[in-house]
């Protein structure tokens, strides 16, 4: 009993020290910090969307169709970024769109990550034919271009946001499974695993409590990349008419509606795409910083 009381505080300060060290390396990367702030701003915008948005995102103002941004000629001061073809305020739609994109990113990553971790742990831990079968199935999924497979899956399940998210999660999941499996196979022969095994830890405990925490770094980096990938793919599916359906203010769907006006109303096209780009860029900047901070190989240099 005495040993545990001695170890606990040490472990706690260890966590704080590790976090401090992590922040030290993360904050060295200026881009990553900028990305983090932009991301925090986006989260706040998404959470407080009903308070910030000047208009209802699906309200159609019939006397203000295709109004250019307020600073442009013939702009309407009521609509800062102008209106679309049926008189909806673009700024408000973009603000509510942040909710969809971040929500899509979070759900897809959580589903793909947890699925991939379990599958990868099982494959790496049990090895043998279990491993072979699982990894072959992953190979098959990875053999298809991801957007194509997601597109066909949505065709099977029916167009819509939920089905698009399921499809994207399924397509992203093998990356996590492969990473986890590789990390598990690297950790299995280590002495601490043997020690835990000898101490009588069960299979589930060995997998989730002993090995998994030591494989997390590459998974976190991959999760960040998948987060931005999921947002891009969901927007692409929306753009192709297979994702969120009208009148949902999802950014990709907004772009699909705007396509016919590309040569007459530039603002309808420009702003939703800019919103996607800024969001994805911020997340990727954070991802780069995370990779540098978590990758021990780069730390030494």
């Amino acid at each position: 009993m005495t040993t545990t009381t001695e170890i606990e505080p040490a472990a706690a300060t260890g966590t704080i020290a590790a976090l401090r060290e992590f922040w030290h390396y993360f904050s060295e990367n200026r881009g990553a910090v900028i990305g983090l702030w932009v991301f925090v701003a986006l989260v706040l915008i998404a959470v407080f969307a009903p308070l910030i948005a000047p208009h209802d995102p699906i309200e159609q103002v019939r006397d203000a169709l295709l109004k250019p941004p307020s600073w442009a000629e013939k702009g309407d001061p009521r609509f800062l970024l102008g209106t679309d073809a049926v008189g909806r305020d673009i700024l408000s739609r973009l603000i509510f769109g942040a909710r969809y994109s971040l929500f899509i990113g979070v759900i897809v990553v959580v589903v793909a990550l947890s699925g991939g971790i379990v599958i990868g742990l099982v494959a790496g831990f049990f090895g043998g034919w279990v491993d072979t079968v699982i990894m072959r199935v992953m190979d098959v999924i990875l053999a298809f271009p991801s957007l194509l497979l997601a597109l066909v899956l949505v065709a099977v399940l029916g167009p819509g946001l939920t089905n698009a998210m399921i499809a994207i999660a399924l397509v992203l999941q093998p990356h996590f499974a492969r990473l986890t499996r590789g990390a598990v196979m690297g950790e299995l022969p280590r002495e601490y695993v043997m020690a835990a095994r000898v101490a009588g830890a069960g299979k589930a405990r060995l997998m989730f409590r002993t090995i998994l925490p030591n494989c997390l770094a590459p998974l976190i980096v991959q999760a960040t990349l998948s987060f931005s990938g999921a947002i891009l793919d969901a927007a692409a599916l929306g753009f192709l008419g297979m994702g969120a359906q009208r009148p949902t203010p999802e950014w990709g769907t907004m772009l699909a509606e705007a396509r016919e006006f590309i040569l007459s109303a530039w603002w309808v096209v420009t702003f939703p795409g800019l919103a996607i780009l800024i969001t994805v860029l911020a997340i990727n900047l954070m991802g780069d910083g995370l990779r540098d901070a978590l990758d021990p190989k780069l730390k030494r240099s």
Binding site: F144, P145, L148, L151, G252
Partner: protein
Amino acid sequence: MIRFVLGKLAYLLPTFLGITIVAFGFVRVLPGDPVLLMAGERGLSPERHAELSHALGFDRPLWQQYLDFLVRLLHGDFGVSLVTKRPVLHEFFTLFPATIELSLCAILLATAIGLPLGIFAAIRRGSWFDQVSMSTALVGYSMPIFWWGLLLIIFFSGFLGWTPVSGRISLMYFFPKVTGFMLIDSLLSGQKGAFASALSHLILPAIVLATIPMAVIARQARSAMLEVLGEDYVRTARAKGLSAWRVVGLHALRNALIPVITTIGLQVGTLMGGAILTETIFSWPGIGKAMVDSISRRDYPSVQGGLLIIAAAVMLVNLIVDLLYGLINPRIRHR
């Protein structure tokens, strides 16, 4: 080397079978009666339904249906398109050159710009050039290319009026299809302005499709180069008093290129995903657009065949890249 090739092939066979299972299963998990979906007819009499079901083989046990499917594939029978009533394989083969032409131009563009960008960024690590080019690469990597394409159309086609909005060549020109590659065929035709027209149609889609691979190649080239520049043999070469260009060109570059070449090869899958979006935006008559159209028209035999053909093509290219990699890097081959 032969053992290496055979090993690779043996490894790919199960994956290929997996792909056929996905393509086979896809039709059977679609909501609705697969007979109606695959025949593309509605309101059938029970007799006609039974007849079609028998003709398409849906009345047999599942495992036998799958074997039939495989046998038909081996005979080159990928089904018949519901829309055009022509064999799916034939349809896709006529569309392939357009996609290959676009993808080749895109990957050439991406390599021609991305590779030097990454190498110079690594040599001048920390300089403004490094920072600007890597920031640009990250923007390119984060780009929603369907929006990027629309922006380019707005600017170059709408505002400047330089490039056409869609298609592969102006309707003014008619010439026989020799290679299927518009750039080559237009040159062969000898018609004045045909090549310029084909090029002006190609340039924007190629830029859009090249954007993400270019960013990936630049980033990968930079990190591979940085790694090599830190190696002992580069330090030795420098210590011997060799000029900086000799060190970089002769010693570092050759070794840094190996992982970059793999990266370029692995972009094929990305290109196919990108082709779906790029071809849709620019109405480029390739397989990416055909897949989107087939899905929205519920032309399921075409979707099934296309899925199979595209996945097999990507696998084939990846195999070739793998083999080339073994050729340039003996360490892999002898492992």
